[in-house]
Assembly symmetry: C2
Homo-oligomer: 577 residues x 2
Amino acid sequence: MRAAIADNAPMTTSPDSIRVAQALVQQCQQLHQQGIVALATACQSPRGLSAERLDQHQLLSYDMAWTSAELLAASNALEQVAGTPDSLDAELALVFTVEAITAVLPRLEMLFLELSLEAEPLHHLRAGMAWADLRRVAGSEAALARTGQRLQSAQVEVGMVELDESIRLVQETFQRFGQEVVAPLAEAIHRDDLTIPETLLQPLREMGVFGLSVPEAYGGSGTGGEDDNLIMVAVTEALSQASLGAAGSLITRPEILCRALLAGGTEAQKQHWLPRIAQGQPLCAIAMTEPDHGSDVASLTLRAQRVDGGWRLNGAKTWCTFAGKAGVLMVVARTDADRSLGHKGLSLLLVEKPSTEDHAFRFEHDQGVLTGRAIPTLGYRGMHSYDLSFENWWVPDSHVIGEASGLGKGFYFNMTGMVGGRMQTAARACGVMRAALLAAQRYTQDRKVFGQPLTNYSLTQAKLARMAARYACCRLLTFQTARTLEQGGSLASSLVKLLACRSAEWVTREALQLHGGMGYAEETAVSRYFVDARVLSIFEGAEEILALKVIARGLLEQALTASGGSANAQANAKATA
Amino acid sequence: MRAAIADNAPMTTSPDSIRVAQALVQQCQQLHQQGIVALATACQSPRGLSAERLDQHQLLSYDMAWTSAELLAASNALEQVAGTPDSLDAELALVFTVEAITAVLPRLEMLFLELSLEAEPLHHLRAGMAWADLRRVAGSEAALARTGQRLQSAQVEVGMVELDESIRLVQETFQRFGQEVVAPLAEAIHRDDLTIPETLLQPLREMGVFGLSVPEAYGGSGTGGEDDNLIMVAVTEALSQASLGAAGSLITRPEILCRALLAGGTEAQKQHWLPRIAQGQPLCAIAMTEPDHGSDVASLTLRAQRVDGGWRLNGAKTWCTFAGKAGVLMVVARTDADRSLGHKGLSLLLVEKPSTEDHAFRFEHDQGVLTGRAIPTLGYRGMHSYDLSFENWWVPDSHVIGEASGLGKGFYFNMTGMVGGRMQTAARACGVMRAALLAAQRYTQDRKVFGQPLTNYSLTQAKLARMAARYACCRLLTFQTARTLEQGGSLASSLVKLLACRSAEWVTREALQLHGGMGYAEETAVSRYFVDARVLSIFEGAEEILALKVIARGLLEQALTASGGSANAQANAKATA
């Protein structure tokens, strides 16, 4: 590859550059794996990973999650563009790879320093020809300017995914619906903090949005294969591009509920609920988080007490999105008073309630009271997230998912839904990024500064290239995760959620910045994208919890399993040192 | 230093670590200077810097500005803590230095790669003992955790600045006023988009806020020395901590207007206006930006046409903050119809108008019309920024700053005010950071997760340490800039504005994240800090313009001047290559 480079001239993207990039990413992954194994060894106790040692290594664990996510996104993108080295997406994959490796190297160096690993291979990689060549090709001023220019003149989709004709059709339908029906209402819903109106919900019901994860046998359109996930991701992205709050997040709740019902519901429950959910009648919400227990599911306290023929609920939930409009809430409740059972004492109860657009409600039923209050938020408006309080609220036995045999299994029934929810949240982040990127592309073409359109300046071009690269690679990974989710893509779903959500914060920040003062005006949609994006790293697995408790833990456990006895021996050696 | 390190144990901060850090920063600065000289040479034309070549190198120029800002903040902080190596601030200075060098090295590597400079010294620095030692001392997990713990238990001010007793007293007075009077009103002003009420303005008038930059001889409290700037920065930070929009930004406008009057006003104008401005009667606003000309002052088009005894204004302004409440606007207008004069055709006109709290106004006076409309914004509320339209608005000759001799000099009269405004904006950013940091410190102590206060976790400690480090170093540099502003600190004022504003975005983002869902709720002050902080990188010199047109250009010009003939010779060699 080296010979092809004349002076500082950027190389044209070529199969060669992609191979070089792949090799570099692979080297980073190998070095990272070495770090993971070393950290796993350092955290090993006779009974697996030591919680105490993990707690001491939170920063390395956190960084490890980010490194894994970035390298996975880069390697996935490079693999997908390998066949089309001349495409814009190939350029974007290389641009992202440069960004990713630039971010990853200092983290790897710190990891190696902390764990006293031999840093020479890292220094070698950093000082080597391949890395210099790749940066010239896809990280230099000239290269980024060229990619930015190409982005601005090309009439092609960024982060292009090969989809079957039928899925592509669904995608286009929802993109059109998003732009023509949702987008014109999105500003008012956001700025006046309205509830999503029936004028939006009714056509979405008719388009089958709520039945995407419901199997055909139960009145939905799900076929149970990877296509279900691809469609869900495509539709979620398309709707989120128009509005995260007013449309893009509608599918998350039915998906979680359906997956729980499919995992644990009785046949009668599936027959009763799934067709209704598929039709969006009733709409549904998930009540899991509690005021004092955000991410700590095992400590949830909302009590369901046994009474004749059912249960009485007492306690509080918070951040229950769409709880007002919803006609049914899936409540994660403690059906066993023994709190030492942790997550094994939890069950899923379906609570029926009247639907309301009010920001505050109070319902009484059979000597029980349910009150709700919408929490005002910076963005992500339209569905509203509610504080809920249950006082002696009655739930019949028939409304416990799985009935008697579902008791204590709530956590497990909920798990597949959460994994799907993360992938969907990555798709939501992609939609917001896409909207922000397109807005920035348009604005910089229209806006003149110092006598020229903003887009003519090389800094603008570089910024747009990097934004597009990040969006494209997050998008490619989101769809790839959808393809592979059912074959154990749980870790990938967490990795892409982590990366896409933070990326959306950054892309919307840059898009706003490119708008200058206008970006800060609430009259400009990009200001909404910015505040909407900020919720993404908080909900559906806050980034710290996801990074530490799901991703890093998963990687370290994998490493222990893989290295087996040898890691064990090293750990013992270290522990006695 | 090396000998003192046992395994991975973090060293205690010591004079040694500070010296090592200083040496590393200095090396980075020298290498950076080499890059600056090389870029200046590459951009040189026979008549100074070539605009065309500068445009090709916007990305390098942009990165160069950030590198300069970070290294300056690090070196300044290290110098200031050198005498107290055991202090928390010394730890924070080292933590920031690690962050800064980590960010700077990849940029330097790219700069060297692009300009074909010998990268060996960079690789050497990166792979060297000193850098590894410094990271162990102030960048390792254990070190960051320790600094975070110390921050949480220490009852000391972060970013402690030595101030004279009299200034300290002013600072404390305004900190107290901010917490006791401003903060309780801040939420309502933000969420209901109110105008700052007289219940806030009147005590601030009485406390002399509007007279800080007015010399004593004209009824203010200014003495003309560095103390004026120190007080202004201290007061601005203290008020911004309570609210950026409702208090922290009140001083910026009078300062800009006073500096313009002092630079160019006639004695009669100074006698008339300065005492009134000092008393905050009238309040004032600055009308510079136009809808089609954000940062491009030379292209401003609002016309002042000569008529008998004065001028008629026609045209539009935008983002005129506080224009409703203000009784006088300083309008940058084109008094010479010859547009080729650029900024030399501009003058400063004082427009008197009625004060109003309305979001929209229309005033008629002497056959002229002035209309205004508050632009709704994500944050920075309370003052409102207005679109203004002037139709045949009459301004008498007496209201042109400098009268006849001030014509065409508006740009120059305005310049010192802009420089002061940047320093003040850095202080505003510091106030917002301080508020966010303190909120995060409190919240993480109160909030329990997985059975422990959030603050007990090492990731929280590391995050808090980095946030505090960034705040402390921005603060130290802001005050240092205030001390040296009158001796040519113009570049420093731009550098600290650039860094502090972006830092405020990051610190408020992290503070919000540490609050989890609650941070996204509008009921929590940290959500306001986050949206308020977002304006900082946009106004008072958008970060791209500041980085490219002020900082990078300044650095490159300095380099050309310093290198003189030799750079010239190299440039010629390069141009013919």
